[in-house]
Amino acid sequence: MNNNIWKIAALALVLTACKSTPMNPAKVEDSSVTKPISNSQNNGNDGSAGTNKIDIKTVDVDSGKDQLSAAELAKRQIFFDYDSDAIRAEYKELVANHAKYLAAHPQTKVVLQGNTDERGTHEYNLALGQRRAVAVKNALNVLGVSDSQIETVSYGEERSKQNCGDDDCFQHDRRVDVVYGQ
């Protein structure tokens, strides 16, 4: 069984090489950009570690950016019209915020999870949800996010509310969730 998993993994790698835009290994390896500078790392830099912490003011050049991003990244759902994968104008800013963060943090990975309402068949809805996830991915790509950072998957109708009576209910199910990796 393990053997098969490796075979599948190998196959996936081959496919990756064939299909996606050329990867930039240097970018992937570059951890210095993404690692937030923590207090403990800074202790050595200012030369007064340990004894008198209260008086020390640590400056973290990345932290402000991260906080700003965190606030803007709080919104992680993009809703769609019925049977549509077009990103509505009201979500352009939300997508741009995530793109900005991801472009600045090339090691951060994101999964875009597409969802649909319950009307239609399970597998067809899985494909529709995928199309929505891809629409968001394409928007992120345009704004400079690398393919290697994004995985698109679909839950189709599997997480939909059941027995919706009207579109007020259905519309909550037609969305892409932006889910950040570790």
């Binding site: 196959l11 319950e118 068949t121 399970h122 494909a127 199309r131």
Partner: protein
Amino acid sequence: MTLTGLFVIILYITGNLKVNNIVTMTTVKSRLIDNRWASMHAFFASILVWMFANPAQAALEIEISGGSAIQIPIAILPMTEPANAPGKSRIHEIISNDLKGSGMFRVLNTSGVPSLPTTAADIKYTDWTALKAQGLSIGEVQQAPNGNLKINVQVMDVLRQTPLLQSTYTVPASQYRHVAHLIADQIYEKFTGQPGAFATRIAYVTKAGKRFTLQIADYDGFNAQTLVSSNEPIISPAWSPDGSKMAYVSFEKKKPIVFVQSLYTGERKVVANFKGNNSAPAWAPDGSKLAVVLTYGANSQIYTISADGSNLQQVTKSSSIDTEPAFSPDGQSIYFSSDRGGRPQIYKVPASGGSASRVTFEGGYNVSPRFSPDGKYLTYIRNDGGSFKVAVQELGSGSVKLLSTGSQDESPSFAPNSRTIMYATRVGGKGTLATVAVDGQVRQRLSEAGGDIREPAWGPAQAAPK
């Protein structure tokens, strides 16, 4: 053909295995054990029969609508049974329900007959010709050694006053319902000339709260057993052609991945786990490979992959959605749904790839194609003015019929005898299963007490006596 023989069958069920605290698997093994008896009755030597010992969770709610124009009148008489015979339904009731539900039989009300015979010698044929019965079944259930039951059935040709069938089964008490279905299959075949599909199994997914389970049950929903359960969705169960394995899609890793699980050993393999979605498994008729849908590029496209996860080959190459593949029974073509023409329609493509051609032309939305095993029919779901219904298309003539009456009907699949289609429907806001005859004449519903039930797949015919 007269069936005589002796089954000695024992069921082993191993306990639940915990896997990652998310997915539990139940391993089910069944085997024919008593070789001495088996070899004495070589007729049955190669049989491997499925059995289930768990209490029923779903049950067929016999709610028959319509009926075939020509129904065979038959009398299924109560058998002589021991007081501790298993279950709530008596064997003649199970046989009667099978035959009635097929739409091909009219099971006669015998309350007007003064004394019902229990042996062939007691039969007063004039009572039964008066009722216009063509067939009459009698029999007995007896205790046998080692907790087994010995079930003897005789079916008489009323007009000729001769026996049509005589069978004896010696089985564990847990096989009581299974024997009833086997008897119903024999009667069905004797009178219609076509094999029955009562002693068959179905797979389906239930959702109770946040818990998804993939279950296997008798065709009437009795003796349900859990194959896999998970807190993440499970969809698209697909039987291997030999009935020994189940392919399905599990979201347990937060994305759709195609697994194949052996029913007998519980061995579970990842068949497709590529970047993006992996879904819609469909077996080739020879069981060597599956069609799957991957979103490796962007849109859902159809690929084939060996059952061991090797030899991936792309079948469709389009910029549209291509999904829900189904192999034609000859294995040469893959039928699938695609929105390449705007709205989703069914297309076919050579299984080795190539150019696709459209199959459905009526209706603005047709999805979920599935073949009848005899290759004569294609069933699919049509969106008919906002309500999703089961349609059947005769492949020879191209004529199409809408068969179901629900508004959210999904997941049609054929019985192994190509006579009946099972599908998912919603009743009172809850998913249930239903069957409809391919001629649209008879419908039945399967209800479950607990959760939501969806995505049925009718299993292949069980190994036939050789």
